[in-house]
């Protein structure tokens, strides 16, 4: 059956969406924080520079030339203006740096600048440096925290639906397979019924008519040949209907059908087949009964073809947890020591696996070289909907 590929389809569409969401979550808040704080830093530095400019204005106005040379007086002025000590740079109207007491320049300065104007003329320019490094550290810490948050969110956004879709896909696959099997069995039953009720009845009627003709003396040899041909056609129809639907299953029920098959198969294959079926089995779904019967057929045929066994056994019983346990074993060469080795997962075993999987059951193989093969299958008694 072609896989649905729902999960991979969903993954391909979810991944970019989740990645984009994670990027937005990881960057939006730290980015906004960084821009806002940076805005505050720059404006704070400009405000600080403006207040220093105001403090300088009187000094420059009183001593238009010599104010540049008195760094200590400038420092006193600035200290007296009630400002926090800051990293300050001062340039006069000619663009030449003026020495001034200053806090150490931060490693990553962010500058705010203000011009000191007297009578509309630029007499000096004051720069104050804000510590951009500290902001970068804070923003980095926030970004790391949000990256973790985004990672967690992305994992939840991605994994939860993908897992759910995966579970749903497996379930849909199971139900589709089971539906296919049911439809297949239904088709087989219908074909077998048609063959039996149509072609089979017609051939039987023709044979009876032919025998009547013979009794009335119509070329008995020719009638005998035609009757023989009709017998062969009838047998062919019976074989075909038996292959399509195990008639014994419908006629005898699972337990007796299995016993009869084991006896018939043992006689035909020259194999001692022991069949032990629990006396009180619950009522089973048709799919489970058919699967059990077909699995036993396939396993015994496999034993006869490959195992070189002298003895085989079949056991069917109900076990705890509302499940059936079907065990088929032989005393042959096992998987390793026989031609099964070349095809350990071949059509026989693989077919069994597929049937069991579709019914939500489990298969376990136990094989030791020279000591046979044991197949243990558990199947649910009630099928999930």
């Amino acid at each position: 059956m072609t896989p649905l590929r729902l999960t991979s389809w969903f993954r391909a569409r979810m991944l970019p969406l989740v990645a984009a969401t994670a990027v937005v979550v990881a960057t939006a808040a730290p980015g906004a924080f960084y821009l806002r704080e940076r805005w505050d830093l720059v404006n704070g530095a400009r405000g600080h520079a403006g207040r220093i400019g105001e403090a300088l204005r009187g000094e420059i106005d009183g001593r238009p030339t010599l104010w540049r040379y008195d760094s200590t007086k400038l420092a006193e002025r600035l200290a007296g203006s009630g400002l926090d000590r800051a990293a300050i740079r001062l340039v006069d109207a000619e663009g030449i740096p003026v020495a001034v007491e200053s806090a150490p320049l931060p490693a990553r300065p962010l500058w705010g600048r203000v011009e000191v104007l007297i009578d509309g003329r630029r007499e000096a320019t004051v720069w104050v440096a804000a510590d951009h490094g500290a902001l970068l550290v804070s923003a980095g810490e926030l970004a790391a925290a949000f990256a973790l948050l985004a990672l967690g969110l992305a994992a939840v956004l991605y994994l939860l639906p993908v897992r759910a879709i995966g579970r749903a896909e497996r379930r849909i696959g199971l139900l589709l397979g089971r539906l296919t099997l049911t439809l297949q069995e239904e088709d087989r039953r219908r074909i077998a019924r048609d063959l039996h009720d149509g072609a089979g009845q017609a051939i039987t009627a023709a044979r009876l008519e032919l025998l009547a003709l013979r009794a009335r003396g119509v070329d008995p040899e020719a009638a005998q040949r035609i009757a023989h041909l009709l017998d062969e056609a009838l047998e062919e129809v019976r074989r075909s209907t038996a292959a399509l639907v195990p008639p014994a299953l419908a006629e005898l029920g699972l337990a007796r059908a299995l016993v009869r098959h084991c006896e018939a198969f043992g006689d035909a294959a020259g194999l001692a087949v022991e069949c032990r079926v629990a006396e009180e089995l619950p009522s089973l779904p048709a799919e489970v009964e058919t699967a059990c019967y077909r699995i036993v057929q396939e396993a015994l045929a496999n034993t006869a073809r490959h195992a070189g066994a002298t003895r085989a056994w079949v056991r069917l019983a109900q076990v705890a947890g509302g499940r059936l346990r079907l065990e088929i074993g032989d005393d042959g060469g096992g998987i390793v020591g026989t031609s099964r080795r070349a095809d350990p997962g071949g059509q026989g075993i693989e077919g069994i696996r597929e049937r069991v999987r579709l019914l939500d059951g489990e298969v376990a193989l136990e094989s030791h070289e020279g000591s046979g093969l044991r197949i243990e299958i558990t199947l649910p008694i009630r099928l999930s909907q």
């Binding site: 821009l35 040379y69 760094s71 420092a75």
Partner: protein, 282 residues
Amino acid sequence: MVRAPFLLLLALAACSGDPPPPSEVPSARERAPDPRAVHVAGSGAMAPLARALAAACGAACPLPVVVEESIGSGGGVRAAADGAVDVGMISRPLGEAERRLDLMLVPGGMDAVVIAANAEVRVDGIAGTALRDLHAGLRRTLGDGSPATVLLRDRGESANGALDRAVPGLGAARDLAYARGRMRVLYHDRSMVEALVATPGAIGVTSLGALTAGHPALKVLALDGLRPSVATLADGTWPAARPLAWVLRRDRAGRARPFLDFAASPEGARIARRCGYLPAVR
């Protein structure tokens, strides 16, 4: 959708900050001399001497001499080098970088660095060890048990170095005081004198010349029994002395020469002694 990148770019541009300031590399500066006056500026410790000399120069100085507000020794050197003033005043030896400016250095005498106290302080002197312990915070009272308030000058002040040579361990104690940040720091001689006058129990470092020139309300303390004076400066017994000098550009020496000649004259020396300075030996 089209607006989002535009808004992001706008936000980034708005908080991108201003361009950085120009390099700190010193630039040459040239200022034309003032044809109307000779300008003198620099160390506040020399300012009282310069003002007294300028006032007395009279006919000996063809151009009026203007003594500016203190800009410190370093500022005086830089201003003289740039031609912003004709004469710079310095109360310490030239630094390494300053020597490379190729300025003329004219000795201006010696200044006594002293411990001055508020007029209400009852003691007349202080031991070097007590001064050190007061700075270090190991003691809080003067010799008579009265509480003391120590006022500091800024780190670059030349008076600190002169006093450190006289009192072992004082420099380290002062560094401790700066680090603790509990003591008030003054940036000029004038502001130190004003703070000493206004603060009961205050003691602080200043210049004998700055006190002699006009602040008799303050008390000059003896240090380890020695009293600062022109005489103890002259005989070398006062341990906290600092050299004074005039600095000027060679190409502007002509404009300042009359004033410096007057300062080095006997009249200039007399004025210096009267102001509490030891005049330079000719």
